[in-house]
């Protein structure tokens, strides 16, 4: 694919410009509609009954009282849709509503569809469920030792998946190393905390005569409408063609909406039973239970280096606490291995990854899927090695850069590699050389690097189908409509699509309208995750637009008596490159054209048009220009009219499949990791540590990211800053706290993701390595930066006070404990547990409103109370 043929060599008109998001106005004014804003006639409210137990057999469900309550239309349970599903073909282990067993506190047991939320809640209390409690597993390392009562049949020792990879010869590598460092790193569990809670509205067509249900329409807060359509078809046992999934505005996903979440199917099951539309919107607590976040990860890491810091071998054993269902688990654990060493040139890599089931909400994909926690371990260990060998962490990274184009030991193809520039930029801006280690005790600088895929080269649906297809239709007035299955989730997907189309067509951005993520209208695209949209939907858009441009060019060339190849498309005009270039300069004609466009042809503005001799005319301008005969340029609209007159309605299709040589190796698990292109990030954090309280303050983060080409710099910067915030959260304060499988902080008054309010200064730097496979050279920019932040902060803390924090988040208590250990001071009892079953000692969740005597309630037969707990081996 030769990008040189594309208008990349000339200057750009639309891409590369700081462009406001195309949906910014509706979002900021509140006019935009999210799923929960929607309602349809006859709509009911759905509420879900959740399991109070971490692991139990369902003996009996009696919903008759709930059913009889006035205002209740339907109560559905597992029996109503017993088909299993899961996001991965190898992981169909979920029921929309529990069949036989519940597997975590919060698992879905039944759903009530009622006239009002109050009635639905009341009805939930009337459902009588008899459970038989089973031993439960909360800690992955304990769970792996289980001999009986496995969480899922067919998953002995509760191991969902394990992978063992060896590239090169790690043992020989360690033997040849001058220095080998080994340590255990733990990153605790975090969740997405997207602003919009999940919401789904499901509505069946109803034949008024027969009462039979027809097609199903589902509006849902999803990153993956086509997967949802597919899973609905599976569980409801309906053909996909009978199901339409529409994604309204989505208020953030971060991976939490990148698979099918139970409510999405439950709403449809309930709507089917009630024969009325049903909407379910999760409470914030339910969002925490639905989870699918980043698993608690234990990384035992060993790195061997030469005296000069050259890395010889790496070996990692990674255990992930996956929660009760498979979800994306095998992909997560594979990403952890695939991306562990591939950022640097490391000849020998060994990896043992275990994805383990426990009785907690399932973990899934979360921004930086699979890479974040191993990156924390690796980049921290590199810093430890530098400290031991008295080397500069920046120079050691520079010694270990890849030399692209290349293939890493684990078969990942790297064509563009902006990491050297990234490191260079943040080192210069932070004055690394002059300032690191010299800021005085209590203040320090730390560096971390990361990388990420620009979409997976092998899709999880294991098909050779292109990963994205885009249709474009151009109307007679020059309006361009792009139909894409890619999901705008706040990351700028629609804006990117519009920009790419406008750039290729040389038309004003305002002409382009994006119709996205509606399975009836838009061609298939596998969704917004693994940072694939710009690479894949971007390339498909580019190709569809090129096809349109070709059609316009052939018609316009006839009008202008030139060859199609002579034409350039720019600034809303089609110009004969040989003659018309002056129309672009500030010459008289250009001004005229611009004026004319302004006064009579404002794109998308109201216009008077009439049909004269088969052609739509606007005022007399076009008529006049038509009479003038051959010319050296046409307006975009004139050219479109010429093309439609010539070809008929103007439509174009483009698709994208990753090139074959980007698809990786052949070993088991080789499918995960390969990507058409990788993004790279380097960050330096400046922190200070209050040695008396353990508080860490981040003063500034310099963050450089290689995104190939910044199609919209303001959007790229926004993604870098957002990634840093999420990294800051995981580094300093975000942690899901569990007690006997019960989430202790399921709300935003207890679980805090950083926002602009507590943001340190973040200085983003864009590095453009112009990737040969990316659209205009672009690649990923939304996830890769996150993983660099956590180790950068850990390393900065080390620079500040000489303590090494190997467990994230670095809360004041953990920092203080480490400081005390450093000084051999008396240990504080810093790990005091909180017992939810003994509310007298349970004061409150960080200020939330648990009143005395009213903590979360447990059933009297709960193992946590009856003491069966111990026998389960659970221990968190």
């Amino acid at each position: 694919m030769a990008n040189e043929e594309r208008p990349t060599t000339t200057g750009f008109s639309v891409i590369g410009k700081r462009t406001a998001m195309v949906d910014a106005a509706e979002k900021t004014t509140g006019a935009g509609k999210y799923t929960d804003d929607l309602s349809v006639p006859g709509m009911l409210v759905g509420k879900i009954l959740h399991s109070p137990y971490p692991h139990a057999r369902i003996k009996r469900i009696d919903a008759s009282k709930a059913q009889a309550l006035e205002g209740v239309s339907a109560v559905v349970t597992g029996e109503d849709a017993p088909v299993t599903y899961g996001i991965l073909p190898i992981g169909h282990d979920e029921h929309a509503l529990a069949v036989d067993k519940v597997r975590y506190v919060g698992d879905n047991v039944a759903c009530v569809a009622a006239e009002t939320e109050a009635i639905a809640e009341q009805a939930l209390e009337l459902i009588d469920v008899e459970y038989e409690l089973l031993p439960a597993w909360f800690d992955p390392e304990q769970s792996m030792k289980a001999e009986a009562e496995f969480i899922h049949e067919g998953r002995p020792h509760n191991i969902e998946k394990e992978y063992h990879h060896v590239f090169g010869d790690p043992e020989k590598g360690f033997a040849e190393s001058d220095y080998v460092h080994e340590a255990r790193y733990i990153a605790n569990e975090v969740t997405h905390a997207a602003m919009e809670p999940h919401s789904t509205l499901a509505s069946f067509e109803l034949d008024p005569h027969t009462g039979k249900l027809g097609r199903l329409t589902v509006w849902s807060s999803t990153q993956v409408p086509y997967y949802l359509q597919h899973k609905l078809s599976l569980v409801l046992e309906m053909p996909m063609a009978q199901i339409r999934v529409i994604k309204p505005l989505v208020g953030g996903g971060f991976g939490g909406k990148s698979e099918v979440i139970p409510l999405e199917i439950i709403a449809a099951i309930a709507a089917r039973a009630a024969k009325r539309p049903v909407k379910i919107t999760y409470t914030r607590e339910e969002v925490f239970w639905a989870h699918r976040g980043r698993p608690r990860t234990i990384v035992d890491l060993k790195t061997g280096v030469k005296k000069d810091g050259r890395i010889v071998a790496v070996r990692a054993r990674v255990v992930q606490d996956g929660g009760a269902y498979c979800s994306y688990g095998p992909v997560t654990i594979l990403y952890s291995g695939a991306l562990l060493g591939a950022i640097y040139d490391i000849p020998n890599v060994g990896y043992d990854g275990y994805r383990v089931l426990t009785n907690k909400p399932a973990c899934g994909a979360m921004r930086g899927h699979g890479t974040v926690n191993v990156r924390f371990a690796f980049e921290s260990q590199l810093d430890e090695i530098c400290a031991a060998l008295k080397l500069d962490p920046k120079e050691v990274r520079q010694k270990n850069f890849l030399k692209p184009p290349c293939i890493t030991v684990n078969n990942l193809r790297v064509l563009s590699y902006g990491l050297p520039d990234c490191v260079q930029k943040v080192a210069a801006a932070s004055r690394w050389k002059e300032r690191r280690g010299k800021l005085g005790r209590g203040r320090g600088l730390g560096m971390g690097c990361s990388h990420y895929v620009s979409g997976a080269a092998n899709s999880i649906i294991r098909s050779d189908m292109p990963h994205s297809t885009v249709n474009i239709k151009v109307d007679r007035d020059g309006g361009v409509v792009v139909y894409t299955g890619a999901s705008e989730i706040g990351q700028g997907s629609d804006t990117m699509t519009a920009q790419v189309a406008a750039e290729v067509l040389g038309c004003a951005l305002s002409r382009v309208r994006v119709v996205a993520a509606d399975t009836d209208l838009t061609p298939i695209d596998i969704g917004s995750y693994s940072s694939r949209v710009t690479m894949m939907a971007g390339n498909a858009t580019l190709r569809a637009a090129e096809e349109i441009r070709k059609q316009i060019a052939s018609a316009a060339a006839r009008k202008m008596n030139c060859a199609p190849e002579d034409l350039v498309f720019r600034e809303d005009k089609v110009l004969n490159n040989n003659l018309g270039a002056r129309a672009l300069s500030p010459a008289k004609e250009h001004r005229n054209a611009a004026e004319i466009l302004e006064t009579t042809d404002a794109p998308r503005g109201p216009s008077v048009s009439g049909r004269v001799e088969g052609q739509i005319l606007r005022g007399s301008l076009q008529q006049k220009r038509k009479e003038e005969g051959p010319k050296d340029w046409m307006t975009f609209e004139e050219a479109v009219v010429a093309a439609i007159d010539f070809h008929g309605a103007l439509t174009g299709t483009g698709s994208y499949a990753p090139s074959l040589d980007a698809r990786g190796g052949k070993f088991k698990g080789a499918g995960v990791g390969p990507s058409p292109a990788y993004s790279y990030s380097a960050q330096v954090a400046e922190v200070s540590v209050d040695e008396e309280t353990g508080e860490v303050t981040v003063h500034k983060v310099w963050a450089a990211h290689d995104c190939g080409r910044a199609l919209n710099p303001v959007s790229v910067e926004g993604q870098i800053i957002g990634s840093v915030w999420m990294g800051l959260g995981q580094a300093l304060q975000e942690e899901m706290v569990w007690k006997d499988g019960m989430l202790m902080n399921p709300g935003l008054l207890e679980y805090r993701s950083p926002s602009s309010v507590e943001s340190p200064e973040i200085e983003p730097f864009i590095v453009e390595s112009i990737d040969p496979e990316g659209p205009f050279g672009a690649k990923e920019c939304s996830e890769g930066s996150l993983a660099a932040t956590i180790p950068a902060i850990a390393n900065a803390i080390y620079d500040a006070v000489g303590i090494r924090l190997r467990e994230a988040p670095f809360t004041p208590e953990r920092v203080l404990a480490a400081l005390r250990a450093q000084k051999n001071a008396k240990k504080l009892n810093l790990t005091e547990g909180v017992d939810p079953t003994s509310p007298a000692r349970f004061r409150e969740h960080g200020g939330a409103l648990w009143f005395r005597g009213k903590g979360p309630q447990r059933h009297p037969r709960d193992p946590a109370i009856t003491g069966q707990q111990g026998s389960a081996g659970g221990d968190d």
Binding site: F842, L849, R852
Partner: protein, 284 residues
């Protein structure tokens, strides 16, 4: 969750409110609603009648009453934080108020509501105790003045009787003293993990009198009397040692975020810092 259903009244006068409150056992007063409404949504409180104090005019004043400053119970945290009068003659309360929650909480929450709530991590109690303020409670039997030290009786419990409404808070002027409120914020809720309010009267390095209120550590905010006793009449150099007694004899409570021991430790550090700062702020 949505709250259980309830009746709603919005009296226009204090008298009406008092009468309503006396007439129903299951009634609750509603001020800013920032503690009560969340509790109702979690069904931790299900009052049958809500008496909204918001329509009663003239209860949100902050005025000079000679020796003291009088604050109407409906004064918002934002109003207290910005009060020129308080900042000039008794700044501690304003220093505490500007640390409460976020902007929305400060714009809606009221001083009366916060004191009646008696949250163990609320900010005002520390300041109210350190200032020896008085709380005026009004009922059908008239006004009752409750001194701060006997107002907070436990977690979420106060000396208020069910038929009483807090109408006014009276704080002494602290001219000649240095006052400081030091707070360790919970990263999510914004409440005090530990909050220390200090009033220090003294001249060049010597402490004549000192009052310290501490919130967040125990079930209920308290005066750090051991520290106070160790410092009266002592030089500033005694602060470091004395502050170590900031959590003596209190049962420190822990939660997910911070253990009791850690809170105790924070109380010591923040007490020392607050005292040192108060003393130097005074000298300025």
């Amino acid at each position: 969750m949505i709250p259980a259903s309830f009746d709603y009244e919005s009296p226009k006068t204090l008298n009406e409110a008092i009468t309503l409150l006396a007439s129903r056992e299951d009634a609750k007063l509603l001020a800013g609603g920032h503690s009560l409404l969340p509790a109702m949504k979690l069904r931790l409180a299900s009052p049958a009648l809500l008496i909204d104090l918001g329509r009663i005019g003239g209860l949100d004043y902050i005025r000079d009453s000679g020796e003291t400053i009088s604050i109407g119970a409906l004064a918002t945290h934002a109003a207290v934080a910005a009060s020129r009068l308080l900042l000039a003659s008794s700044p501690l309360l304003a220093q505490a108020a500007c640390n409460i929650g976020d902007i929305q909480v400060r714009n809606r929450g009221t001083i009366g509501g916060s004191l009646a709530q008696a949250h163990p991590s609320a900010d005002y109690p520390a300041a109210i105790l350190a200032l020896d303020a008085n709380i005026v409670a009004t009922s059908q039997s008239g006004e009752r003045v409750i001194p701060a030290h006997s107002f907070f009786t436990g977690m979420f419990t106060t000396a208020l009787r069910p038929d009483e409404i807090i109408t006014e808070i009276r704080v002494p002027k602290t001219a000649g003293s240095g006052t400081v409120y030091k707070k360790f914020h919970h990263p999510a809720s914004g409440y005090a993990v530990v909050g220390v309010a200090a009033v220090v009267r003294g001249a060049t390095g010597k402490i004549d009198d000192v009052a310290i209120g501490i919130t967040g550590v125990a079930e209920v905010a308290y005066r750090a009397t051991a520290v106070e006793d160790a410092l009266r009449g002592k030089p500033a150099s005694a602060i470091a040692e004395a502050a170590k007694h900031a959590a003596d004899k209190v049962e420190a409570l822990g939660d997910n975020y911070a253990s009791g021991d850690y809170r105790r430790h924070l109380a010591q550090v923040y007490t020392r810092r607050a005292l040192q700062e108060a003393l130097s702020s005074k000298r300025k």
